[in-house]
Subunit: 247 residues, 2 copies
DNA sequence: ACTGATAAAGCGAGCGTTCGCTCGGAAACG
DNA sequence: CGTTTCCGAGCGAACGCTCGCTTTATCAGT
């Protein structure tokens, strides 16, 4: 098995200090396995999990390189070392494989963003910064998954496309809610644009969509997070961070 | 010929007051035709132009609906009313068709952003606002072209992918240059993040990538432009606009 | 500990279909 | 009548997917 960007990830905690655990590759595959149990013919869970990791890792690598549509199942068979017939014991169609990856992404987003730590939730300003931090770190952890989900979204079958839009709307609502609370409590300016929640999203997506660019330029994830946080604070009329990223 | 988002566009001037003309569909196809003359077997220019418009319009519509890869040339033949053999007198491979669309986009971007009116270029602040305004209006005018270019970028052959990255880097450099000049002249804060030019881009792309969302929500292009302009001014430490968008 | 039966998992040639693309001839034009 | 434009059946290749078979794992019974 060739080294992948995900394999290094154990069930580790991100350096945000809030104690939210990021899902490891095994966690993701287990969740995918559980929610597609009826489509998977393999009985022994540990065998299924190991091979599913192989399949999904290879599928993400190939898809992110040439596109899901252009990735043939023969490509996937070769890359994963599993025969054509073997692959079809883990999904009943190529579309199901796509759905599996999507379910992993949307599940992880909800799992990570839905339950902020109590001390953060109490303060809209801290909550907003936490959402930005957690989202960027989650996408970093699951980079191939998010690039896949983002880039292939438009080729989804209709049902999956709707699901993707809903998932995005949900994420946006997290930001909308916290900003609304912040305005109500006086932490954010009342003149904050109603478009603000929608405009935060592309700033978060930028990190994983153009990941190679920032790696090439030597921009660290901490710098990126701090910059976006500062930009959002500026736009919401909140006070500056203690450590301005531009200095 | 079915009505398309582009057909309404004559060679009209955007409402920015700066007098920069946006390219019409005919302009675009003519430029594509000129730069691919050797690949196109048709001799009479007016015939070639009319059919090329048909082909490109249909290709954009189909590709933006199901993806370029998934659009078969038989689909394109049916949609454009031109036979398979007929299509191949306008390009020698499907990849060439893709390149044609890309060249139209990158050409239009450079044509629109490279030469700001003199009175705008003199003032970094006005120049920055003009870049945002012009870029968003250009993408609105050429919506199917930009959606195509953005969504299909990662499936390009390697040479075209590099060209797309270069084109994006060029756009970013326009913002980088004007911000650098603004900092030098004191119009923008020296603490402005060096990431700022890179972060403006996704805010501009958001408009056409999620165009349907903003249409559904009734967000006008003027509101969107003003909001992004305000956000960038906030982040660069410049003074506020006369008419804040949030009020 | 070994064996043989039963089930689980793995395999890849082959099926029907569709793809990008070609080419010889018909149609339209000047 | 020569030239330009248009046409669509047909080519080889590659696609998603299947299925009969082999290999491997499991575990009584001796």
């Amino acid at each position: 098995m060739s080294p992948s960007p995900m394999t290094r990830a154990a069930t580790q905690t991100a350096a945000t200090g809030t104690g939210i655990a990021m899902p490891s590759l095994s966690d993701l595959c287990r969740s995918v396995l559980d929610s597609n149990r009826e489509k998977i013919a393999i009985q022994k869970p540990d065998v299924a999990l190991r091979k599913l990791e192989l399949i999904l890792t290879s599928a993400l690598e190939l898809s992110n390189g040439k596109g899901f549509q252009a990735m043939s199942l023969r490509d996937l068979s070769r890359a994963s070392g599993i025969s054509m017939g073997g692959l079809y014991q883990y999904f009943d169609s190529k579309t199901t494989l796509l759905k599996m990856i999507l379910s992993g992404v949307s599940g992880a987003v909800e799992g990570a963003l839905a339950d902020p730590p109590p001390e953060v939730e109490a303060d809209p300003r801290a909550h907003l910064l936490w959402l930005i931090d957690t989202h960027v770190r989650l996408t970093e952890q699951m980079l191939p998954w998010f690039t896949f989900s983002y880039m292939e979204a438009k080729n989804f079958p209709l049902a999956e496309r709707r699901a993707a839009i809903d998932s995005e709307a949900l994420t946006e609502s997290y930001f909308a809610n916290v900003i609304a609370r912040g305005i109500a409590s006086g932490a954010f300016a009342g003149s904050t644009s109603p478009l603000m929640p929608a405009l935060i999203k592309p700033l978060l997506q930028e990190w994983y969509v153009k990941r190679a660019k920032y790696r090439r330029r030597g921009v660290t994830i901490e710098t990126y997070i701090a910059t976006v946080q500062q930009m959002v604070l500026d736009a919401t009329g909140a006070k500056a961070l203690e450590t301005p990223p531009g200095g």
